[in-house]
Each structure stands twice: as structure tokens, then as C-alpha cells.
């Protein structure tokens, strides 16, 4: 759209491309190497999630939520389930709350590992990607131990979880944490402070806080710009108030506050914070309890609507659910954080070079499943 100047070139990145994190098409108008305009074209992964929800029951919506952000399925489930339980005023047992927090934090670590690894790959560092995936495999093994699935779990149900923790779960996770915590330092040595990586990402794609808030950016992208906003601390849900953890914020250690390196580093620090939460949760989890105790026989929420946000690894995941008293939702709208993150791409990568566009896109950590739904 618009008139292209004579010396400008319209380039098309995607939908099939090694580093667009899914099926994303970018129409880039460049003048030599400098980019003057980017138009993301989405919708290649649209699967009518919201229409499906209107034709399924409330429990049947949960596997659909898994498939939206397939990297952080537990957090998707968590968001939906928290919203529904608030709508129906269900209180879940303690053990279920702890299990949910443990699963959500493990999935947060796995999701961040994938984000960091693929970001290194985009920038050209092949090896950290494989190291991070090796560790992510161990987390997926833990999930497989619990519910039998590695990527899409259908684990958290309204009022409980689908499977209780298997025998030996706590030791397995402790072993994993003991193995994993020194690795974060290793990643810092290989990638985070690597001079070439810093050159590629520092001062690139600076996202100012006002711009971020106006575009609805949230999560590590917003925290990388210096805004301390985390739903787990500011609008707490489940039992997050009991845990003692920090909210890392970008400070421009090697460049400007809000550049790609800050967003990357915030994710690295968040992995460490998640391990802290995990350790506390594992220590305090009640040893026994029936996880299916509070499952309602029939889910018929009262008439009304609710909008509830939870913290997914990509930002504020919001569910707007309208119920008309029947067992099927009237309307479910999923407000995905990656949708807002992608909308800010044009703003922050204008004036940079083509390689920087790839670097910025990687630092926003988008998942097309969530954007298109």
C-alpha cells in the first residue's frame, strides 16, 4: 500500500523462512539496506479458535487453548482456568494450586529457553541453541512423566488438574534444578556477554516505555524497557503472593534501556527467578490431597462476563469470557501478548538494517499460534 519510490525495493520475508518464528509474512520496503517500512501480514495460522469455543463446552475449550501458544501451553491453560474459576467462584485445594504454579514456572523456563536459543540462531550463534534445547528436553521429560504429553498437555482443568503428581516427582524436579542452575551461567558466558552478540543487539530496536504501553506490549518486552509490571505481583492470582521472587527490569547495562539485549537479558534473569519460585513451591507443597476434589460436576457458570489477565512467558495473557448460563461459552476472546508485540515491530525497526529487523523480531519472542489463534 502506498507509493514506492523509485530507489526503494519491496522485499518479502516469509511465510516460509528460516527465522520468522512461524508462518509470518513481512513486507519490507528498503532503501538499500536500510528499512523504511515493515508490514506484518498474519493470518496464516488462523484456526478459528474463538468460533470453536462457542460450539464446545467449557472443558472442551481447554485443549484449544493449549494450541494457541503451543510453547507455553501450561500458562495458556492456567489463564483460562483462573478466569473461569473467578467467574464461577470455585476455590481449588492447596495442592492443586501448588501443582499449577510448579507446572507454570517449569513451562516458563522451557519457553524462555526456546526463545533465547532461537534468538541466538537468528543472530548466527548455532551452538547455544542446541545447549538450551538439551535442557528444555529435560523439562519436557518431566511433563511427560506427569501427564504423558510433551508439548500440548490439557493439564489444568476448571477446578483442578488432570493428573496428580507421580511418585518421585519432587526429587526429579530437584535434580533438574540442581543440574540446571549452573547452566544459566554457562549461557551467559557463551552468548549474553559475547562481544559479537552484544554488538548485534545493543542499542538496536529501542522500545521506549510510553510507546510500549500505548501499543499494549507486556511481559519481558515491557520489562526490558524499564517498566516494572508483572501480573504475578501486581494483580496476583493463584498463590503467587506467597512466593518471594524479583521482577527483573531492563537497565541498559550494555546499551540503551529497551534495546534487544535488554529484552534478552530480562528473559535470562526471569529463568533464574522461576527457579527460585520452583524451589519454594517444592518445599511447601502439601504432600497429599485429592486433585479432583473441587471439579464441578457440570460447568454452568452464572450469567456474566469476566476479563482476567495472567502472566504468560510472552506477557499479559487475557481471557474475556462471556457466559449466558449454558454449558457452552457465549464468547471467549483471547487477548494474546504476542499480537501486541508484533504490532510494535514496525515502530521500532524503522531506520535499521535488514539484519536488525531479524534481530528485533527475534527479541520480541512471538509465537504465531497465539497471534492468529
Amino acid at each position: 500500500m502506498g507509493v514506492v519510490q523509485g530507489d526503494q525495493m519491496v522485499l518479502n520475508i516469509g511465510p516460509q523462512h528460516p527465522s520468522t518464528h512461524g508462518v509470518l509474512r513481512l513486507k519490507v520496503v528498503t532503501d538499500g539496506e536500510i528499512v523504511s517500512d515493515i508490514t506484518p501480514i498474519i493470518g496464516y495460522l488462523h484456526r478459528c479458535f474463538e468460533k470453536h469455543c462457542e460450539n464446545s463446552t467449557y472443558e472442551q475449550v481447554i485443549p484449544y487453548t493449549d494450541r494457541c501458544d503451543y510453547i507455553a501451553s501450561m500458562n495458556n491453560n492456567f489463564g483460562y482456568v483462573v478466569a473461569m474459576e473467578e467467574l464461577m467462584e470455585i476455590k481449588v485445594p492447596e495442592r492443586v494450586e501448588y501443582i499449577r504454579v510448579i507446572m507454570a514456572e517449569l513451562n516458563r523456563i522451557a519457553s524462555h529457553l526456546l526463545a533465547l536459543g532461537t534468538y541466538g540462531l537468528d543472530v548466527g550463534a548455532f551452538t547455544p541453541f542446541l545447549y538450551m534445547f538439551r535442557d528444555r528436553e529435560r523439562i519436557l521429560d518431566i511433563f511427560e512423566l506427569t501427564c504423558g504429553a510433551r508439548l500440548l498437555y490439557n493439564y489444568m482443568w476448571i477446578g483442578g488438574v488432570s493428573h496428580d503428581l507421580p511418585v518421585g516427582f519432587v526429587e526429579t524436579v530437584y535434580n533438574f534444578l540442581d543440574y540446571f542452575e549452573p547452566k544459566v551461567q554457562e549461557y551467559n558466558d557463551i552468548l549474553t556477554y559475547n562481544k559479537i552478540f552484544v554488538e548485534r543487539t545493543a542499542d538496536v530496536g529501542v522500545l521506549l516505555p510510553e510507546v510500549a504501553i500505548s501499543f499494549g506490549v507486556s511481559g519481558p518486552n515491557l520489562r526490558g524497557s524499564g517498566v516494572k509490571w508483572d501480573i504475578r505481583k501486581d494483580e496476583p492470582y493463584s498463590i503467587y503472593e506467597r512466593f518471594d521472587f524479583d521482577v527483573p527490569v531492563g537497565q541498559g547495562l550494555v546499551g540503551t534501556t529497551g534495546d534487544c539485549w535488554d529484552r534478552f537479558y530480562v528473559r535470562v534473569l526471569e529463568i533464574i527467578e522461576s527457579t527460585k519460585v520452583l524451589r519454594q513451591a517444592l518445599k511447601d507443597i502439601p504432600a497429599t490431597g485429592d486433585v479432583h476434589q473441587a471439579l464441578p460436576k457440570k460447568i454452568r457458570p452464572p450469567k456474566g462476563s469476566i476479563y482476567r489477565r495472567t502472566e504468560s512467558p510472552r506477557g499479559d495473557l487475557g481471557y474475556y469470557i462471556i457466559s449466558d448460563g449454558s454449558p457452552q461459552p457465549y464468547r471467549v476472546k483471547m487477548r494474546s501478548p504476542a499480537f501486541t508485540a508484533l504490532s510494535v515491530l514496525n515502530e521500532i525497526s524503522r531506520g535499521w538494517m535488514l539484519s536488525d529487523v531479524i534481530a528485533v523480531l527475534g527479541s520480541l519472542d512471538i509465537v504465531l499460534g497465539e497471534i492468529d489463534r
Binding site: C48, K51, E210, G216, W229, A294, K297, G318, Y320
Partner: protein
């Protein structure tokens, strides 16, 4: 109503008042269950009245200017502010303590006011949901606003006609409005006036129809490919 049923209902209501909804939900017979729920609602209302009365007495003793017996929710306060700044735009009967119902006419100015006024400072548009209120009813757009400075949130609902839905666009007030409104247009066909580039975002540009409306009929083919139909419910 038999004695057994009455006792069952009473037990269930007592348990539910303590927070355990399962007793009520577990009642097999539909009629009894609905009676139990009605009794529960009545019991809750009475409990609320007895707890609200002392606080309302305090309130009316404290401030003569405060005429309402229950403390105002944030939505109601903001509705009052909007009504005083932009008279005639707030739909008083439909607004409640959880949302503000607005007329579409001055929405753009109200949005700017909400973003800039120091008491409100709603600098973040969290979610724009389009709703189809029913086959005979109208369409509605619901906005969830949030303030990063004051850390408070409200919900605004704007109804628009089904046949020619038009709502002023707020994409220059909150930049994310651009994509959110395009998505609502894509799914419901609601036109946002003043949007500089209103076109479909998730579906291909030449798709016909507005999918999330309740009366949506899927087109038969798209460029020669047969479009599978969505199953109604699960059999």
C-alpha cells in the same frame, strides 16, 4: 415439594454458603437443582443486606454529599466523571458496577479524555472484544482499559446497530487500537470510523462474511477450495 427435597435443598444451600458449590451442582434432578440455586441466591442476598446495612449507615452518617448507600465501584465513579464532562453519552440504566455503557457518538473524545485526565490516566487499552448479543439483537464492542500509573481498570461497552455498525476509531489514542479494531472488523464487520487502514487482518482480504456473528453462514468455496463447515456442538 416433598420433605426430602426441601431438606436436600436446605443442606445444599448451607454448604454452598460456606463456599462448596458441589452440593448444589450435584443435585441430579433439574427442577430441584434450579430451586436450590434460587434459594441460594435469596440467602446470599439477605446475607449481603445484613452486612451492607451497617456500612451504609456509617456512610450516610459520615458524608452528607454521598447519597448512595453502597460504596461506588471504579466503573461507576468513572461513569460519573464521563457523564459530567460529556453529558448524554453515558447510558445510565445499562451501566453497572462492572462496566460503563456509552453511546458511540463522542467515543473518540471520551477516549482522549480518559487517557489524558490526571484522575483517570488510562494509558493502556488491554482488550477490544466484539460481541454479537443475539440474532435479534445488536452488536457490541467492549473495551478493557487499564492505567499503569494508577493501577486501576475499567470496562466500556458500546452498542452499535447490526445492519450498519459504526463506532469511532480510537487507534490514534492507543496505538494498539489499530490492530485490535482491524481484528474486530474482520470478525464482526463493525466499521471503525477514522481508522486509516481498516482491512482484514486474520482472514484473507477477499473472504466474505463476518465469521464470529451468530448468523454467519460459511461460504461454500474459496478460490475453488471447498470450505469445511463448523460442527454445531458435539454429538
Amino acid at each position: 415439594m416433598t420433605d426430602n427435597q426441601e431438606m436436600l435443598i436446605q443442606e445444599a444451600v448451607e454448604k454452598a454458603l460456606q463456599g462448596d458449590m458441589e452440593a448444589v451442582n450435584n443435585i441430579e434432578d433439574r427442577v430441584t437443582r434450579s430451586k436450590a440455586k434460587a434459594a441460594l441466591v435469596k440467602a446470599k442476598r439477605e446475607a449481603a443486606k445484613t452486612s451492607a446495612e451497617p456500612s451504609s449507615e456509617e456512610k450516610s452518617e459520615e458524608s452528607a454529599a454521598e447519597s448512595k448507600p453502597v460504596p461506588l465501584s471504579l466503573n461507576q465513579k468513572i461513569a460519573g466523571i464521563i457523564a459530567s464532562q460529556f453529558p448524554g453519552t453515558v447510558d445510565e440504566e445499562s451501566s453497572s458496577e462492572t462496566h460503563i455503557q456509552l453511546q458511540p457518538a463522542k467515543w473518540f473524545d471520551i477516549a482522549q479524555y480518559l487517557r489524558d485526565d490526571p484522575a483517570c490516566l488510562f494509558d493502556s487499552l488491554q482488550c477490544v472484544t466484539g460481541v454479537d448479543l443475539g440474532e435479534e439483537s445488536e452488536l457490541e464492542v467492549r473495551y478493557n482499559l487499564h492505567s499503569m500509573t494508577h493501577r486501576h481498570a475499567i470496562e466500556i461497552r458500546i452498542e452499535c446497530a447490526r445492519n450498519n455498525p459504526k463506532v469511532p476509531s480510537v487507534e490514534t489514542v492507543w496505538h494498539i487500537g489499530d490492530w485490535f479494531e482491524r481484528e474486530t472488523y474482520d470478525m464482526f464487520g463493525i466499521e471503525f470510523e477514522g481508522h486509516r487502514d481498516l482491512r482484514r487482518i486474520l482472514l484473507p482480504d477477499d473472504w466474505e462474511g463476518w465469521p464470529l456473528r451468530k448468523d454467519y453462514e460459511v461460504q461454500e468455496t474459496y478460490h475453488g477450495i471447498v470450505v469445511p463447515k463448523v460442527k454445531e456442538g458435539w454429538e
